[in-house]
Symmetry: C2
Subunit: 278 residues, 2 copies
């Protein structure tokens, strides 16, 4: 018992294909300051968005196994593609609770939408999976989804508060609202279905009619993780988050800070074994 | 001897991380209609641009070995990142001639530029490698390079002839021409250092001053391969190109046709073994 209680009480593993999941970690650090966090970005194999279900599942399971081996007692899948395509594979592979950003986003949409009609913007791969509309349908709300493939590169270019970004958002939302009208839906909620999009939240809210409520999946995921776990009172502040990447720690440190909202001091380079048998 | 002459006389392997290299294959089919082509897109692991030199070299060598095993007698590295980071590794690994798009682009810049000052646009990874400026310097011409990370997603979004794309090009070229002026250069040539960019050639030429000559690396690579190889007279027309991808043949077929400029009928899914030892 004594050696058990000397273990950190809540070590939470956060997984994404790259840096975007750091927006989720930022929200988690705010909501659960007493937990210890491990963040893994599979940067050598990003983006998952262009890959098949089978490949994404193989990669995501190896990442989950790595975090488990590092002592994670709870896993947050902060990658929309992995949540869409591989959540069940991960749950089968590891014996700890696993929460994915798509279900937390759908839960929040259910809680916020009065009309029961929601819009989702995401990468092409997430939209093609129809994971958000399926998760919304399970909760008796209807979702229309739109792929916005230019938004991630605009964020990565640093064009956050930029006229081009506003025009691109205007085009995307005009198309999305037309799509909603044609489907006879009355959406009152927009779900940000990609972890890069919280950085564009102010621009997105400025582009949309004020009647549309914007749900940031990073924020709602952190709130739901905080509600799901019972934290023991911590005797001392937890150690700082540990960061793992499968490629270029220096680049992770440099680019990741923008998504985390604070400097990243140290990133450990790891190799994930593929589970493919030749 | 007789079984030797029954071999295809020129089987050329073309390698890229994805679809972009199909612009090079399109030009090769035009310039060398009597050759047999094998095209490999490492779509499971694209884009190479965000990966370290070591990772890109490992992936590119495994791709080159695959093409060699399929009987390629000549390799064209149509991927700028692999040409920048892994050309020597590939040349060491395979016993056939290997030509990369960066050296062919630099050769063409040398041939076309009168002032000896050229501009190069490319992805962030290619620019960070400074492979174009190094290749130009070896040929006694001076290059300034600019990363244009939005152009690939704009092409992939299909916004080829689009006001947003024109504005983005205008911003990028204003910055590039300012950069040239500050460096006291008088560029007369722009090198398209990414295989996606030939699809934007008309927009690029319309945005630039008419005094700037645009070099399309797909076109000049095909011309240089044609000049380098001696083709035997073919008794019969060659078989159509064979296409290999490491992920989602259906997606390759669908998206690749735009880059090839003609329909793609069949794509073979392959697995590349990583040469990493656990």
């Amino acid at each position: 018992m004594s050696q058990h209680s000397s273990q950190p009480l809540h070590r939470i593993g956060v997984f994404d294909s790259g840096f975007g999941g750091l927006t989720v970690l930022q929200a988690l650090l705010h909501h659960i300051p007493s937990a210890e966090f491990l963040y893994l970005g599979d940067t050598a194999r990003l983006p998952y968005g262009a890959k098949s279900r089978q490949t994404v599942a193989r990669y995501a399971v190896s990442a989950a196994e790595f975090l488990l081996a590092q002592g994670a007692q709870y896993l947050v899948i902060a990658c929309n593609t992995a949540s869409a395509l591989a959540l069940e594979d991960i749950r089968t592979a590891v014996p700890v609770p696993v929460l994915g950003v798509i279900e937390t986003g759908a839960n929040a949409a259910k809680a916020h939408s009065i009309s029961g009609d929601v819009m989702v913007i995401a990468t092409a791969a997430t939209v093609e999976s129809h994971a958000y509309s399926a998760a919304c349908a399970e909760r008796d709300i209807q979702a229309i989804e739109k792929a916005c493939p230019l938004l991630v590169p605009l964020v990565e270019e640093g064009w956050i508060d930029h006229p081009i970004t506003r025009q691109v958002l205007h085009i995307y939302f005009s198309e999305l609202l037309t799509q909603a009208r044609e489907a006879a839906l009355q959406p009152d909620t927009l779900l940000l279905g990609c972890t890069h999009y919280p950085l564009l939240r102010a621009e997105i809210e400025a582009t949309l009619p004020p009647s549309i409520h914007v749900i940031d999946s990073a924020e709602v995921t952190a709130a739901q993780v905080a509600a799901a776990i019972k934290l023991s009172a911590a005797a001392a502040p937890p150690p700082p988050p540990r960061f793992f990447a499968t490629d270029s720690p220096e680049k992770f440190r440099r680019l990741g800070s923008r998504f985390l909202g604070q400097p990243i001091q140290h990133v450990e380079l790891i190799e994930l074994e593929s589970s493919v048998q030749p």
